[in-house]
Symmetry: C2
Subunit: 222 residues, 2 copies
């Protein structure tokens, strides 16, 4: 497939997690893409804002489909899967598994993303130190990983015995999110730890991860 | 369609917004459903947790499809549309519009839901008053409505000239979310106000809204 496709443009950010979510999926599927990086200020002005009214990343543009533009990581991923994962490598063909994956996809979007994001915010950027807020979001993070752990004690991956796109969507925040101190996640959540190790061992995941870390190091030194 | 279907079970909460998101869609499509209500504690224990590992609402069960179970409001809605909106009343058939709607759907899930939700949290439930957090989330709410307003100054609905499910997904939080004081939204965001008035005038929206408000009044007196 890949050789006949023009590269999909993926608008992203060098350090933040959300465009990398889409990169993991593209890499796993062997779809050619060009990850282009914006500064935060550029996201909130033209010409980018014409592509993404919310002024954030990611956005994709598909030159193989009249430049069709899609924003929000979940929507980008849904499009890529529906259009290019016709073999069902990451998008389950079984109906039950398909909708279970969709549920975990949305839990990532509405749970992991926001709560992990707010924890990082109150640790790193909030104008004052608010311990009750840090505790709130830290507790939510642990609750969420606990929900995953319980599922992963029953099934190998989130939606069943095979990996789906939903598993991969959870990857970026686990890579860069600040962790609650004094909790060894792999000990408290052994099934999650088993899953996380399995995911890390994937060739496509490792490739994208390393590229991302090189850029992060360049920009923020860690 | 409706007469031949057994009612879909919609697990929800009397006062919180997320299961009502699904109710608006079911009502608009004329699909029979039974909205069943849980207390917060019941969500975190069996038998409900076997349906929804995250222990939240909504979850749907479809007796017309071997009791297929789906959780997270967005996933529930995607299923209902794909399965039952074959005429494309709310799910656009045009490819570009379809993916634009998907982007706005995910912005609701990852933007409006979390930020409006955190604002309410810091106004109502946080153990201490943290004005900087209230300000943060209040500013995000206004930013988000501003993004909608800009889009709605160009198109009648979020994804174009026709209503889609994406518009309806934004409804519940606008009904119950605490608003930032001293800002008249309809004045600051006139295109959003025009859209909001249009949405409120829909028969199905009014019906579900009134039913919800009756329950809220019963439970929390307003």
């Amino acid at each position: 497939m890949s050789s006949s496709l023009k590269p999909i443009t993926l608008w992203g950010h060098k350090t933040g997690p959300n465009s990398w979510k889409v990169a993991f999926i593209l890499e796993e599927l062997g779809i050619p893409y060009e990850h282009k990086f914006l500064q935060l200020a550029e996201m909130k002005e033209e010409p980018y804002e014409a592509l993404n009214p919310n002024g954030r990343v990611p956005t994709i543009e598909d030159p193989n489909n009249d430049g069709l533009t899609i924003w929000e990581s979940g929507a980008c991923i849904d499009y890529i899967l529906e259009k290019y994962d016709t073999e069902g490598k990451l998008l389950p063909k079984n109906e039950k598994t398909k909708w279970t994956a969709r549920s975990w996809r949305d839990f990532q979007m509405s749970g992991q993303g926001p709560y992990f994001g707010q924890y990082s915010w109150f640790i790193n950027y909030h104008p004052e130190k608010v311990q009750t807020a840090i505790d709130r979001y830290g507790n939510e993070m642990l609750r969420i990983v606990g929900v995953m752990d319980k599922q992963l004690s029953k099934t190998k991956f989130l939606a069943g015995e095979e990996i789906t796109y939903a598993d991969l969507m959870w990857v970026p925040y686990f890579i860069v999110a600040w962790r609650v101190p004094d909790v060894v996640w792999e000990e408290r959540f052994p099934s999650w730890g088993r899953w996380w190790k399995e995911i890390q061992g994937r060739e496509a995941v490792e490739k994208v991860w390393q590229g991302w870390m090189r850029l992060r190091k360049e920009v923020i030194g860690r």
